[in-house]
């Protein structure tokens, strides 16, 4: 049963968020936090709930370029943050799909890093601090605005990627980086995706580590599958890194004329398909995972080869086929989950779950942050 929200509330301060959560706890109304308004998953259940939009929690709170830290309220778009950073020759090195349109609070809640994590670490490593409001309206400040901080248990880690299941994120402090002076994108094309796996493996064991390495089924209309490698640095290092990689792989890369356009195309490819699956495995299992996913006859496949994380776009899902793919991938030690559910609410199929012991801990943590269970709509797909 899919439920629809009663209405959308737009608080403009942390105190208002807290008030809404306290009221919802008292009235037994569910809350589904939304950020940039990207399509969230359909909510399963029959009880009433409200959507809580963070769009009015907007703006950069603090930016000290010399400290390489920036704090923004949850509804601030990544485009706004990027503009402020670029004005000082800095940037935030994560590249999930459609990053510019997303809000920092939403992105932190989803915990989506994009393939640049190979060179810079995952999003969870860039989030230095957060303010959140728990399910029962407690306002918490987690972490801080310094790069190293071990004062107390690290509640930021489970918060990043919790998808609104623990609390409403109201602001985020990020660690930012100096912009690289050269951003070079290298391409290797083959007729089939599977023909690129050996090269992807070689990149993964090369002495030089690119900032990202992505396998993509197509980079544009009528184009063939490609391995897309990104190098950051100064002219001298990027040239030397390219030569070192080419020597290691025994091939010559094609250099993409426009790094930005190509990276954007790869970054966003298939992310808004009707159904999006995310598969994860060890890099050594790349070939087998590709085989398992190709049986789903996907529209798109994009794979971050550093960790063998796949994004697969489907026009529609056959639950039995998805179940088979999941079983194959789990046998390889990996996982398969749904990142985007079909608009019509159709079933996608069984996806990977945490182990029973992990689930117990997760439920315990959820109860700690949301004792009244107000955030159930955000958890309804778990």
């Amino acid at each position: 049963m899919t439920a629809t929200p009663e209405s959308v509330v737009h608080p403009s301060s942390d105190a208002e968020v807290a008030e809404i959560m306290i009221d919802a706890s008292r009235e037994g109304v569910g809350i589904f936090p939304l950020s940039s308004g990207h399509r969230a998953h359909p909510v399963r259940g029959e009880r009433p709930y409200l959507e809580l939009s963070t769009t009015r929690l907007d703006g950069i709170v603090e930016y000290e370029p010399a400290d390489l830290t920036l704090t923004a309220r949850a509804g601030t778009s990544l485009a706004t943050i990027d503009e402020a950073l670029r004005a000082h020759g800095q940037w935030a090195p994560f590249d999930p799909p459609n990053v510019g349109e997303r809000s920092i609070g939403g992105l932190a809640a989803v915990g989506d890093s994009g393939p640049l994590w190979m060179g810079y670490g995952e999003l969870r490593n860039h989030v230095l601090g957060m303010t959140v409001v728990t399910g029962d309206g407690r306002m918490l400040s987690l972490g801080g605005r310094v790069v190293k901080n071990v004062a107390g248990y690290d509640l930021l880690k489970p918060m990043v990627g919790s998808r609104g299941s623990l609390a409403v994120v109201t602001s985020v402090c990020l660690r930012v980086y100096p912009e690289p002076s050269v951003d070079r994108v290298l391409l290797l094309r083959r007729d089939r995706l599977s023909d690129l796996v050996a090269a992807a493996h070689s990149v993964g064991t090369a002495p030089v580590m690119p900032v990202s390495s992505v396998l993509v089924d197509r980079t544009g209309v009528n184009e063939s599958p490609a391995l897309v490698i990104r190098l950051h640095g100064v002219e001298e290092t990027v040239g030397a890194d390219q030569a070192s990689l080419e020597g290691h792989l025994g091939i010559v890369f094609e250099q993409a004329p426009s790094a930005t356009a190509l990276c954007t195309a790869v970054r966003d490819r298939g992310a808004t398909s009707n159904v999006v699956l995310v598969a994860s495995a060890l890099p050594s299992a790349l070939s087998e995972v590709i085989r398992a996913l190709e049986r789903l006859e996907p529209e798109t496949i994009v794979a971050d080869t550093y960790a063998a994380r796949f994004r697969v776009g489907l026009s529609q899902a056959d639950p039995e086929a998805v179940g088979n793919a999941r079983a194959s991938i789990e046998r390889l030690g990996g996982t398969l989950r749904v990142a985007r559910f079909p608009a019509d609410g159709a079933e996608v199929g069984p996806t990977s779950e945490p182990s029973p012991a992990e689930k117990d801990l997760i439920i315990g943590i959820e109860k700690t942050f949301d004792p009244m269970g107000v955030l159930w709509p955000a958890r309804s797909r778990r």
Binding site: L140, L142, G152, P178, S244, P283
Partner: protein, 469 residues
Amino acid sequence: MTRPLAPDVVRGLTEIVGAANVITDPDRLLVYESDGLSAYRVSPRAVVLPGTSDEVAAVVTLLHLEGIEIVPRGAGTGLSGGALPTPDGVVVGTARMNRIIEIDPENRLARVQPGVINARLTEATQPYGLFYAPDPSSQSTCTLGGNVAENSGGPHCLKYGVTSRYVTGLTVVLAGGRIVKLGGAGRDSAGGLDLVGLFVGSEGCFGIATEIEVRLLPIAEGVRTLLGIFETMEAAGHAVTEIMGSGLLPAAVEIIDRATIEAVEASIFAAGYPTDAGAALVVEFDGTEAGLDLGADRAEKCCFEAGAREVRRATSEAERAALWKGRKKAFGAMGRIAPDLLVQDATVPRTKLPEVLARIAEIGERYDLKIANVFHAGDGNLHPNILFDRKNAEELDRVERASTEIMHLCVDAGGTITGEHGVGIDKRGYMSLVHNETELEMLRSVRAVFDPDRLFNRGKVLPDPLAET
């Protein structure tokens, strides 16, 4: 007063791990009375040294049934008293679990037991061209289990990040002896909650990690190390701001002050730093050989523009070791000047460093204490070290008051009470400077999810032991 364990408990422990691995003899327990924070000493009721996950689980089960507190211990090099025994507790040490289970070069992963020494992992992975990035100063003795518990940092964390960035999976033993696998490199944590990230840095209060999966990195092609000598700390601080603001991404940026230089040069660790200098700055770049001189040239220019008296550059491993020597041996050298050393740890936003350092000097003068500063300047992580004699009660009191002022100072500057050493027993009293009561209550509740009976490391991290018990 420490109570001896009941004979049947000792017998039970002996059956699990063997008589050689249960220590109850008071003389042998002496070694375990403290960790790197030697100002505190408590004798445990016993020390147990299990050899496998199953043995850890059986020991935890037994102690849980008896309601006996457990103090997990790695190598005991921690500086916040995290492994300090409690009078009612039994220390469970991981020293025997020192096996590297697997090195997987294809996936750039390693699986290790918690008692593996940090530096040994890098040695073992070197033949594959790989290394383990977090490098705490104690890396030649500290263990990965301890690093996981403390979320340890190190000089090169400026570029590479701290322990939590590298831990991909854990096997942990929780209260009641449950063995639980968390995460794993092939698994996508975005489907659930990042339990691995939460466990890392839990300071032994959630359970004991018995198997650790970590990510490895390829060894950089080359390294360049610079040593800048400055007349004043202010000038060195200015050079750091210039370097970090210039778009360079050094692997490490470390400063030692005049008091530390004097201590080092007067010791057997003399590194050839000029004793009349106000500060010495070590800057290191690693990566592709072709870009290293370029980065080093630019950093050198920043140093001279900030008023450096001289800048030395290492091009060989021997020269590099010489430049680092003063920094790496700083703590050892201080032992020569005073019998006791309180290694403080706090982080401030980097731009606040000059102001905070000036205030620390002023605090030292006011309390008539010698404070020597060694710090990770690139990420604002300070180590003001207070030299003292523990036997002098009046001086110890001044040390404690000066320490408290330094903590307040760092928090007021927008920083925090610990950057990499953890809260342990030492910083419990300062937790309320950075967390309000609601947040502290949340920390207690999250801990209770893992350890509802507060069996593990009771009294650590959280400020009010009464509220915890």
